[in-house]
Symmetry: C2
Subunit: 111 residues, 2 copies
DNA sequence: CACAGTACTGCTCATTGCGCAGTAGTGCAC
DNA sequence: GTGCACTACTGCGCAATGAGCAGTACTGTG
Protein backbone atom coordinates (compact mmCIF):
# COMPACT_ATOMS: atom_id res chain seq x y z
CA UNK A 1 0.00 0.00 0.00
CA UNK A 2 1.12 3.49 -0.78
CA UNK A 3 1.30 5.92 2.13
CA UNK A 4 0.98 8.89 -0.19
CA UNK A 5 -2.56 7.81 -1.02
CA UNK A 6 -3.39 7.51 2.67
CA UNK A 7 -2.42 11.15 3.13
CA UNK A 8 -5.16 12.27 0.77
CA UNK A 9 -7.55 14.42 2.69
CA UNK A 10 -5.66 13.81 5.92
CA UNK A 11 -2.77 16.15 5.26
CA UNK A 12 -5.10 19.09 5.81
CA UNK A 13 -5.94 17.73 9.21
CA UNK A 14 -2.32 17.02 10.09
CA UNK A 15 -1.26 20.52 9.12
CA UNK A 16 -4.09 22.08 11.08
CA UNK A 17 -3.16 20.02 14.13
CA UNK A 18 0.48 21.05 13.91
CA UNK A 19 -0.41 24.71 13.52
CA UNK A 20 -2.84 24.58 16.42
CA UNK A 21 0.12 23.72 18.57
CA UNK A 22 1.98 26.81 17.49
CA UNK A 23 2.18 29.09 14.47
CA UNK A 24 4.65 27.89 11.90
CA UNK A 25 6.05 28.41 8.44
CA UNK A 26 6.13 25.87 5.63
CA UNK A 27 9.62 24.53 6.02
CA UNK A 28 9.05 24.13 9.72
CA UNK A 29 5.68 22.44 9.35
CA UNK A 30 7.33 19.88 7.10
CA UNK A 31 9.88 19.13 9.78
CA UNK A 32 7.26 18.85 12.50
CA UNK A 33 5.14 16.48 10.42
CA UNK A 34 8.16 14.31 9.67
CA UNK A 35 9.08 14.30 13.35
CA UNK A 36 5.54 13.21 14.17
CA UNK A 37 5.98 10.12 12.02
CA UNK A 38 4.75 11.27 8.64
CA UNK A 39 8.12 10.59 7.08
CA UNK A 40 7.01 10.63 3.49
CA UNK A 41 5.36 14.03 3.21
CA UNK A 42 6.88 16.02 0.40
CA UNK A 43 7.54 19.70 0.98
CA UNK A 44 5.57 20.75 -2.08
CA UNK A 45 2.53 18.97 -0.65
CA UNK A 46 2.73 20.93 2.57
CA UNK A 47 3.20 24.26 0.85
CA UNK A 48 0.26 23.45 -1.37
CA UNK A 49 -1.87 22.47 1.59
CA UNK A 50 -0.98 25.67 3.44
CA UNK A 51 -1.96 27.72 0.43
CA UNK A 52 -5.22 25.82 0.10
CA UNK A 53 -6.11 26.18 3.76
CA UNK A 54 -5.27 29.86 3.60
CA UNK A 55 -7.38 30.32 0.48
CA UNK A 56 -10.22 28.53 2.27
CA UNK A 57 -9.99 31.10 5.04
CA UNK A 58 -8.79 28.77 7.76
CA UNK A 59 -5.42 30.40 8.31
CA UNK A 60 -3.91 33.79 8.97
CA UNK A 61 -0.56 34.63 7.49
CA UNK A 62 2.29 37.00 8.26
CA UNK A 63 5.84 37.28 7.06
CA UNK A 64 8.84 37.55 9.33
CA UNK A 65 12.51 37.92 8.42
CA UNK A 66 14.92 35.21 9.45
CA UNK A 67 18.55 35.41 10.47
CA UNK A 68 19.42 32.12 8.86
CA UNK A 69 17.93 32.41 5.41
CA UNK A 70 15.14 33.97 3.42
CA UNK A 71 12.01 35.43 5.02
CA UNK A 72 9.49 33.06 6.55
CA UNK A 73 5.80 33.06 5.86
CA UNK A 74 4.12 32.11 9.10
CA UNK A 75 0.65 30.62 9.26
CA UNK A 76 -1.67 30.33 12.21
CA UNK A 77 -5.19 29.05 12.84
CA UNK A 78 -8.09 31.46 13.07
CA UNK A 79 -11.56 30.63 14.40
CA UNK A 80 -12.56 29.01 11.13
CA UNK A 81 -9.41 26.91 11.18
CA UNK A 82 -10.00 25.74 14.71
CA UNK A 83 -13.58 24.82 13.84
CA UNK A 84 -12.33 22.94 10.80
CA UNK A 85 -9.75 21.15 12.90
CA UNK A 86 -12.41 20.19 15.39
CA UNK A 87 -14.86 18.83 12.84
CA UNK A 88 -12.19 17.16 10.73
CA UNK A 89 -10.82 15.40 13.78
CA UNK A 90 -14.26 13.97 14.44
CA UNK A 91 -14.72 12.92 10.82
CA UNK A 92 -11.34 11.27 10.83
CA UNK A 93 -11.90 9.48 14.15
CA UNK A 94 -15.22 8.14 12.97
CA UNK A 95 -13.72 6.96 9.74
CA UNK A 96 -10.75 5.34 11.48
CA UNK A 97 -13.11 3.56 13.87
CA UNK A 98 -15.18 2.27 10.99
CA UNK A 99 -12.11 0.92 9.28
CA UNK A 100 -10.80 -0.61 12.49
CA UNK A 101 -14.12 -2.36 13.02
CA UNK A 102 -14.14 -3.63 9.46
CA UNK A 103 -10.64 -5.04 9.81
CA UNK A 104 -11.33 -6.46 13.27
CA UNK A 105 -14.53 -8.15 12.10
CA UNK A 106 -12.45 -9.98 9.55
CA UNK A 107 -9.99 -11.19 12.15
CA UNK A 108 -12.76 -12.51 14.37
CA UNK A 109 -14.05 -14.60 11.51
CA UNK A 110 -10.56 -15.80 10.73
CA UNK A 111 -9.97 -16.75 14.34
CA UNK B 1 -13.73 17.32 5.56
CA UNK B 2 -14.65 15.15 2.66
CA UNK B 3 -14.97 11.45 3.36
CA UNK B 4 -14.36 10.61 -0.28
CA UNK B 5 -10.80 11.88 0.07
CA UNK B 6 -10.29 9.77 3.16
CA UNK B 7 -11.17 6.70 1.15
CA UNK B 8 -8.20 7.26 -1.14
CA UNK B 9 -5.95 4.27 -0.85
CA UNK B 10 -8.11 2.75 1.85
CA UNK B 11 -10.86 1.47 -0.38
CA UNK B 12 -8.51 -1.25 -1.60
CA UNK B 13 -8.01 -2.36 1.96
CA UNK B 14 -11.71 -2.24 2.75
CA UNK B 15 -12.59 -4.30 -0.30
CA UNK B 16 -9.90 -6.84 0.48
CA UNK B 17 -11.15 -7.14 4.05
CA UNK B 18 -14.71 -7.67 2.92
CA UNK B 19 -13.70 -10.28 0.38
CA UNK B 20 -11.54 -12.11 2.88
CA UNK B 21 -14.71 -12.68 4.83
CA UNK B 22 -16.37 -14.35 1.89
CA UNK B 23 -16.23 -14.20 -1.89
CA UNK B 24 -18.50 -11.57 -3.31
CA UNK B 25 -19.59 -9.74 -6.43
CA UNK B 26 -19.50 -6.00 -6.99
CA UNK B 27 -23.04 -5.11 -6.17
CA UNK B 28 -22.82 -7.16 -3.00
CA UNK B 29 -19.47 -5.70 -1.93
CA UNK B 30 -20.98 -2.24 -2.18
CA UNK B 31 -23.81 -3.28 0.13
CA UNK B 32 -21.43 -4.86 2.61
CA UNK B 33 -19.20 -1.78 2.72
CA UNK B 34 -22.20 0.47 3.23
CA UNK B 35 -23.45 -1.82 6.00
CA UNK B 36 -20.02 -1.60 7.62
CA UNK B 37 -20.37 2.15 7.87
CA UNK B 38 -18.79 3.37 4.66
CA UNK B 39 -22.03 4.99 3.58
CA UNK B 40 -20.60 7.18 0.88
CA UNK B 41 -18.84 4.66 -1.33
CA UNK B 42 -20.05 4.95 -4.89
CA UNK B 43 -20.66 1.77 -6.82
CA UNK B 44 -18.38 2.85 -9.66
CA UNK B 45 -15.53 3.21 -7.17
CA UNK B 46 -15.98 -0.33 -5.94
CA UNK B 47 -16.19 -1.82 -9.41
CA UNK B 48 -13.08 0.11 -10.36
CA UNK B 49 -11.26 -1.09 -7.27
CA UNK B 50 -12.22 -4.69 -7.95
CA UNK B 51 -10.91 -4.43 -11.48
CA UNK B 52 -7.69 -2.86 -10.24
CA UNK B 53 -7.14 -5.48 -7.59
CA UNK B 54 -7.85 -8.21 -10.10
CA UNK B 55 -5.46 -6.65 -12.61
CA UNK B 56 -2.83 -6.49 -9.85
CA UNK B 57 -3.23 -10.23 -9.37
CA UNK B 58 -4.73 -10.11 -5.91
CA UNK B 59 -8.10 -11.60 -6.81
CA UNK B 60 -9.54 -14.59 -8.55
CA UNK B 61 -12.73 -14.20 -10.50
CA UNK B 62 -15.54 -16.42 -11.66
CA UNK B 63 -18.95 -15.76 -13.08
CA UNK B 64 -22.12 -17.34 -11.76
CA UNK B 65 -25.66 -16.96 -13.03
CA UNK B 66 -28.24 -15.46 -10.75
CA UNK B 67 -31.93 -16.16 -10.44
CA UNK B 68 -32.79 -12.57 -9.66
CA UNK B 69 -30.99 -10.63 -12.34
CA UNK B 70 -27.98 -10.65 -14.62
CA UNK B 71 -24.95 -12.87 -14.02
CA UNK B 72 -22.68 -12.07 -11.12
CA UNK B 73 -18.94 -11.73 -11.33
CA UNK B 74 -17.60 -13.09 -8.08
CA UNK B 75 -14.21 -12.16 -6.72
CA UNK B 76 -12.16 -13.89 -4.07
CA UNK B 77 -8.76 -13.41 -2.48
CA UNK B 78 -5.82 -15.51 -3.57
CA UNK B 79 -2.51 -15.84 -1.72
CA UNK B 80 -1.26 -12.54 -3.12
CA UNK B 81 -4.46 -10.84 -2.05
CA UNK B 82 -4.23 -12.17 1.46
CA UNK B 83 -0.61 -11.04 1.70
CA UNK B 84 -1.63 -7.64 0.43
CA UNK B 85 -4.44 -7.48 2.95
CA UNK B 86 -2.03 -8.38 5.70
CA UNK B 87 0.59 -5.80 4.81
CA UNK B 88 -1.92 -3.08 4.01
CA UNK B 89 -3.61 -3.60 7.34
CA UNK B 90 -0.29 -3.02 9.05
CA UNK B 91 0.46 0.06 6.98
CA UNK B 92 -2.97 1.46 7.73
CA UNK B 93 -2.76 0.72 11.46
CA UNK B 94 0.60 2.39 11.70
CA UNK B 95 -0.63 5.38 9.81
CA UNK B 96 -3.78 5.64 11.91
CA UNK B 97 -1.72 5.43 15.09
CA UNK B 98 0.57 8.19 13.88
CA UNK B 99 -2.39 10.43 13.15
CA UNK B 100 -4.02 9.61 16.47
CA UNK B 101 -0.81 10.53 18.28
CA UNK B 102 -0.53 13.76 16.34
CA UNK B 103 -4.09 14.73 17.21
CA UNK B 104 -3.74 13.62 20.81
CA UNK B 105 -0.52 15.58 21.27
CA UNK B 106 -2.41 18.67 20.26
CA UNK B 107 -5.11 18.05 22.83
CA UNK B 108 -2.60 17.60 25.63
CA UNK B 109 -1.11 20.98 24.84
CA UNK B 110 -4.55 22.52 24.66
CA UNK B 111 -5.47 21.05 28.03
C1' DC C 1 -45.10 -3.47 -22.35
C1' DA C 2 -43.37 -0.17 -18.99
C1' DC C 3 -40.82 -0.09 -14.97
C1' DA C 4 -38.25 -1.18 -10.80
C1' DG C 5 -34.46 -3.82 -9.02
C1' DT C 6 -30.20 -6.23 -9.93
C1' DA C 7 -25.49 -6.18 -11.94
C1' DC C 8 -21.77 -4.53 -14.65
C1' DT C 9 -19.00 -1.37 -18.03
C1' DG C 10 -16.91 2.76 -19.83
C1' DC C 11 -16.05 7.65 -20.20
C1' DT C 12 -14.79 11.79 -18.17
C1' DC C 13 -13.84 14.79 -14.33
C1' DA C 14 -12.08 16.70 -9.75
C1' DT C 15 -9.10 16.45 -6.02
C1' DT C 16 -4.81 16.15 -4.15
C1' DG C 17 -0.13 14.66 -3.18
C1' DC C 18 4.43 14.44 -5.64
C1' DG C 19 8.50 15.42 -8.66
C1' DC C 20 11.24 18.75 -10.28
C1' DA C 21 12.96 23.09 -11.65
C1' DG C 22 13.65 27.70 -10.40
C1' DT C 23 14.41 31.86 -7.26
C1' DA C 24 16.56 33.84 -3.34
C1' DG C 25 18.81 34.75 1.06
C1' DT C 26 22.78 33.47 4.58
C1' DG C 27 27.12 31.69 5.79
C1' DC C 28 31.15 28.67 5.23
C1' DA C 29 35.12 26.51 2.75
C1' DC C 30 38.65 26.94 -0.52
C1' DG D 1 35.10 35.91 -4.01
C1' DT D 2 33.23 31.88 -6.05
C1' DG D 3 31.06 27.84 -5.31
C1' DC D 4 28.28 25.15 -2.30
C1' DA D 5 25.16 23.80 1.41
C1' DC D 6 21.21 24.99 3.97
C1' DT D 7 17.09 27.58 4.50
C1' DA D 8 12.56 28.92 2.42
C1' DC D 9 9.12 29.49 -1.00
C1' DT D 10 6.77 29.24 -5.85
C1' DG D 11 4.98 27.19 -9.97
C1' DC D 12 4.20 23.72 -13.49
C1' DG D 13 2.77 19.40 -14.89
C1' DC D 14 1.84 14.53 -13.65
C1' DA D 15 -0.28 10.32 -11.49
C1' DA D 16 -3.50 7.94 -8.72
C1' DT D 17 -8.01 7.25 -7.46
C1' DG D 18 -12.81 8.01 -6.13
C1' DA D 19 -17.15 9.95 -8.18
C1' DG D 20 -20.78 11.22 -11.62
C1' DC D 21 -23.34 9.67 -15.22
C1' DA D 22 -24.91 7.27 -19.14
C1' DG D 23 -25.55 2.94 -21.14
C1' DT D 24 -26.37 -2.25 -21.42
C1' DA D 25 -28.79 -6.21 -19.93
C1' DC D 26 -31.47 -9.63 -17.26
C1' DT D 27 -35.69 -10.81 -14.14
C1' DG D 28 -40.16 -10.27 -12.30
C1' DT D 29 -44.49 -7.55 -11.62
C1' DG D 30 -48.46 -4.63 -12.60
Amino acid sequence: MDTTQLLKGVLDLAVLAVLDDEDGYGYDVVRRLRAAGLDDVADASVYGTLRRLFAAGHLTSYVLPSVEGPHRKYYGLNASGRAELESSTKTWSGFADTMAALLAARKEVAA
